[in-house]
Symmetry: C6
Subunit: 259 residues, 6 copies
């Protein structure tokens, strides 16, 4: 009804709920206590937006190192929220857009969200949205200002609620811009650091044998993001025919990937 | 008569008196002596514009930390002034506008105000109006100059009076731009710092029980803005079914919100 | 004749002689020796332009702190000069103009002035004309260059004379730009600093009783500009019904205004 | 079939597989163990993209000093990959293009690649693509952001795979921009440093006699890129009629070329 | 004939020979040995362009403090050269022009000059032409490059000769830009520093009585430019009815003018 | 045939072979061993491009102080090369052009050159082409990037060869931009420093008598560029009627010219 109405008339910008599943298409496994606590806090906040009368607007910033799994987490929360209006705003849909066009485009998604009783907007890779580069630094101030305005704008009509989830690998840099403080809440997505967490991910997500997983988990000394860990595991598998992974080969691939 | 004439012909830009009530829709409670003195000073200044022949122009800057309640205070004064012409200029109505368009838009509101015998213009979040970011810093000089000109321009016709109220969380930064000195008067909106003030707000605005309010008020060590205090209280309520708030849960939520 | 011709054909830009009276509509009282010497020097310079054959071009810069009364003095001189062509160029008539438009507009006023045998051009708030802000600093170089060219351009036709009066609160900053040196003469408009001068202004311009004026004049320790002094006096009057002013109330208002 | 379809409808931008052979038209000889290991690692990564289900996107950055042979290596890999879609993006096809046009052009090549099951995009001389100059530094942030977005964008449709190979002589500078970290893997193309490697290249690629090659190989003390070595050899040949190369002449030419 | 042809077809940009007389309409008196040597060197250079076959292009930069008389000297040389083509390029004829328009305009004057056998182009106040301001510094690089190109471009046709004279008060600043070195020759226009030179100017150009001139000449301790000296003399005359000048009055006016 | 075809269809941009003779119209005399070695090295490089199969692209940068004779040398090489396609790209043919137009124009000349079997492109005064000024520094990055791309682009068709000769007085500054390293070879054009070289130039190029030449050659203590030496000689000749040159007069003129 409401959803159909929106679909009939709105342009096709902004990934919607079903499409977001692709961001964790290779599975979504827990990897440690910090991860569990984080998911649990986030789920509580989503629930608060759904049920509280005093929360017409909430914004959550997921920060963490590159490849730590931020996009997957945000996408999962969005899909599982079940909110009638779910949209993702990401830079790859606005390549070649002028500052003004980007601001207008982003504004439009927010304006559409105000028409739904329960909306979720997912801003992925905020540094890419504002075109941030640490040399200078340079960034689009127009898009930055637009985000800072919309992060604080309470939906005008009574009873409308909006949850905004953002992700960034450059939290400390965005803090200098005043952008982190514009979010109601900030949460850190951790790297994988514990031996048992390495083991878990290599077993469940990389589908390694217990022996391979154990041998490798013992060797990794530095914390690593889940995306990189899985990529290195796949690289290491190429050297054998049967999908098994030799520890030394794994460590070599780890090195080639920059660790 | 005058009001109707204006309404017939003018475009629909700029929130008017009735709409401003939304900015304190969850109530407006006093919280301490500093707050009371502030409100009383401000009310006297509004009255001066209304009754003095020697005051055709006055501008008041409300500065204070983010979330201290500046917008609510300014909106309340505007609504209660009863002036025939009341307009709010805020950045969210000018998203995507070029420098020139913003200057022209702002100028238009002031030009309209000169036609009324008693006008009030509310400039919310001045740093957003001038697109200020502390890195660089970068800002729209065109809009800044427009504001500095209009803050000092006395209505040309005799007997016309204009009161301008501005809010900002970045008073010290705007001072470097020369903007603070352009206002006739500057007043600071305080954070809540005293135990009894925490208690008052938790009781009256957050509708907590006396016990909960007292227990929590004793624990808060750092000053906090009213907006954040109320948000944390709402977050803490989610953990129980009956709206009660456990002190430890409250302190956790306080921490998640950045305190 | 000449005046009528100009009026018939020229656009309506630039406040003319009669309109300038508004800038001292609340009176114009002397306040001390420095003030008297200043007015006397300025009147002599105006006379020189009127009568000397060797003075086709003269420019005077009135500098001084904000609110010291610069605009009122310049406006008074302009009105009292009796020159057939008198125009004021101020930033509020060029809001939203591009650099090029502003330069062209200013150039046009000067070109019109060359057609009159005796012309006076009043440039108010030069920092606003060139859109100056001390952070950066940023300013319109196009308008600055235009002013520097026109400040030195002698009217081409023999017998034409032009007097230019400029005002600024940022003399030291404009000096770095080379703009102060472009004026033939620079004069400083003083703040009110002497007890007897405070008394004089409170009596004559603020219409206080002798007792009130004397009590307050004794208390003011810091120099203040006439505009601010008069504003504070008006603020203080609000607390009583009969226009009298209590000293303590006055000092409070002084403090609220930033002193 | 797929290839024909693409060819029928697509514009003629971007060198394709056959044209890439020109980048090593003068031969492609191995010169040492480091070179062999590098080629072998790169070939394994190309194979991984071809056969792994878990690798829909991989990006490899070839960095090294100017003239070390990066373009030749990347071109060879591209030609030998046999992928149905192979395109080269290089700055010389976008001379005079605006920022927006370049971003749009690059985006278009990537969008075309998503339609093929196995695609390879070769970004040559990344510093030229982003118009980088170390003074300032200055660069096109729009093109930089476009690359950083597309380097991480996984083809939306299941089963599509994309391999991106980039070359740069300014790896350390691009690292400050965050561009190096956007690649999955970075590999260094070495200079020729060993006497036996000099000998090999002078014999096989420069077609020198054993005696000439040996005499010269003994004299070269500093590492040099293969492109420069071959150019100097050709310069030195001019002094004789029979293609032989005198050692002293060679060393002189080496000096003239900047060594 | 040539002159008439040019006049028929060319636009009316650029003051020509007769109009230049206005720049020394109040007389042109020698004031000292340095002045005489300067004029004599300059006249020799003009003659060289007229008669030497080996001098198709020469450029002379007159530098010196503001008000030292540079424009008057250059104008005099231009008028007295008798060259068939004489044009002045000054910023006041290009107010509001874009960078490109200014470059094109200046280029056009040079292109016209190449059609005459003997041409003189006078560039007055080069810092105004390139819109130079020492804060930043900021300037029009497009106009600067145009000047640097044209200062070195030899007229293409054999037998054509061009003399370029430029003036500037900011020689040291223009040197940093590389502009001073683009001139063949640079000469300094001196301030008046000697007592006898002050006397001479006050007598001959300011038409003072011997007594007045002598009394004042004894009092001036700092060097001063001729333009300022003459302006102060005129100011001082206003205080008396008969054109005589009292020493003390003179010193006061000197002080008011910034000395 | 090829030449005629090109001439029929191509626009008339870029000085061609015959026109380049004008750059040494006053003669071209050798002045010392360094000069002879330089000319000999350059002639060998031109020959290499003509006859070697392995040299489809070569670029030579002539750097040296202002007035050292760079343009004359480059022009002479171009004329004497006898290549069927010879073009000069210099800034005076692109005055007022936008960045994009300049890049497009330069690209066009290169594209035309690829159609000839043997081409020579002469880039004079590279700092003027890229609009370089050392304050900032400021320069056109678009033109710089275009040059860096085209300096390395090998003509696509087999058998086509291109020689690029560039001149600059700012080699060290262009080195910071990475432009010097883009050339295959860099050669320095020397100043005249030896007594016997001064004598030679004054005799052969300035046509002085042996006595004059000898007397003057003994006095010059600092190295000087040939262009400046010849200009000073001509200046000194003006003082006499018979073309002879007095030593003292010469030294004075040397001083006036900045030495
Ligand atoms: N909990 C998880 N379990 C299994 N796979 C995961 C999990 N989290 C992430 N991944 C996988 O890792 C990959 C990348 O993760 P993701 O894109 O979320 O990282 P990111 O932090 O957003 O990276 P970036 O900093 O580049 O934006 C995805 O393919 C995703 O499926
Ligand atoms: N005196 C008050 N009593 C009750 N609620 C209040 C009071 N003042 C503010 N609030 C509530 O707090 C919330 C936010 O306050 P407000 O927007 O005025 O803060 P602010 O200082 O303008 O914040 P920001 O710095 O983000 O602009 C509003 O929902 C408002 O209703
Ligand atoms: N001599 C005076 N006597 C009485 N009133 C005066 C006098 N001078 C100024 N005023 C009053 O003070 C007010 C402001 O003065 P004015 O605008 O000239 O100050 P200003 O220095 O130009 O201020 P700003 O720096 O803001 O431009 C005016 O209302 C004017 O009438
Ligand atoms: N392995 C090789 N064997 C023979 N010739 C080679 C080899 N590698 C490169 N060359 C030759 O050297 C020349 C230049 O190499 P290439 O262009 O790859 O260097 P590059 O590192 O990309 O240089 P640049 O830094 O200028 O981009 C080519 O002509 C190429 O044929
Ligand atoms: N030698 C002279 N004798 C008499 N009057 C002179 C002489 N030189 C200059 N003047 C007069 O002084 C005035 C200004 O001189 P001029 O404009 O040449 O100075 P300038 O150095 O160009 O000043 P600026 O730095 O402002 O451009 C003119 O009115 C001119 O007539
Ligand atoms: N070898 C030479 N013999 C005789 N005359 C010469 C010689 N070299 C240069 N000249 C003359 O000197 C003059 C200028 O030389 P040229 O323009 O080549 O110097 P440049 O180094 O290019 O100067 P710039 O740095 O200003 O570009 C020309 O008129 C030229 O004829
Ligand atoms: Mg991500
Ligand atoms: Mg607010
Ligand atoms: Mg004023
Ligand atoms: Mg390469
Ligand atoms: Mg001058
Ligand atoms: Mg040259």
């Amino acid at each position: 009804d409401f959803e159909r109405a929106l679909n009939d008339i709105e342009p096709k910008f902004g990934a919607k709920s079903q499409e977001l599943k692709a961001y964790y298409r290779n599975g979504f496994v827990p990897y440690g206590d910090t991860f569990d606590n984080l998911m649990s806090t986030l789920e509580r906040l989503v629930e608060q937006v759904r049920s509280s009368d005093k929360t017409p607007l909430m914004s959550i910033l997921l920060q963490g190192s590159a490849s730590s799994g931020k996009t997957a987490i945000a996408a999962k929360l969005a899909v599982e929220s079940g909110f009638p209006f779910v949209r993702m705003i990401s830079a790859d849909e606005m390549i070649g857009y002028s500052d003004v066009s980007k601001s207008t485009q982003i504004h439009k998604v927010f304006m559409d969200s105000y028409r739904s009783p329960l909306s979720l907007i997912f801003l992925d890779d905020i540094e890419r949205l504002i075109e941030y580069v640490p040399i200078g630094p340079r960034f689009s101030n127009a898009v930055l200002q637009t985000l800072m305005i919309l992060l604080k704008k309470i939906p005008a009509d009574e009873g409308r609620k909006l949850l905004i989830i953002g992700t960034t690998s450059a939290g400390h840099l965005l803090e200098d811009l005043g952008l982190v403080q514009a979010f109601s809440v900030a949460q850190t997505v951790p790297l994988i650091a514990e031996g048992k967490d390495f083991y878990e991910v290599l077993r469940s997500a990389a589908h390694m044998s217990k022996e391979d997983a154990k041998a490798i988990a013992r060797q990794i000394k530095k914390p690593i993001g889940i995306k990189q860990l899985l990529m290195v595991a796949e690289m290491a598998k190429q050297s054998s025919d049967d999908g098994s992974v030799n520890v030394n080969v794994f460590m070599e691939c780890l090195h080639a990937a920059g660790y």
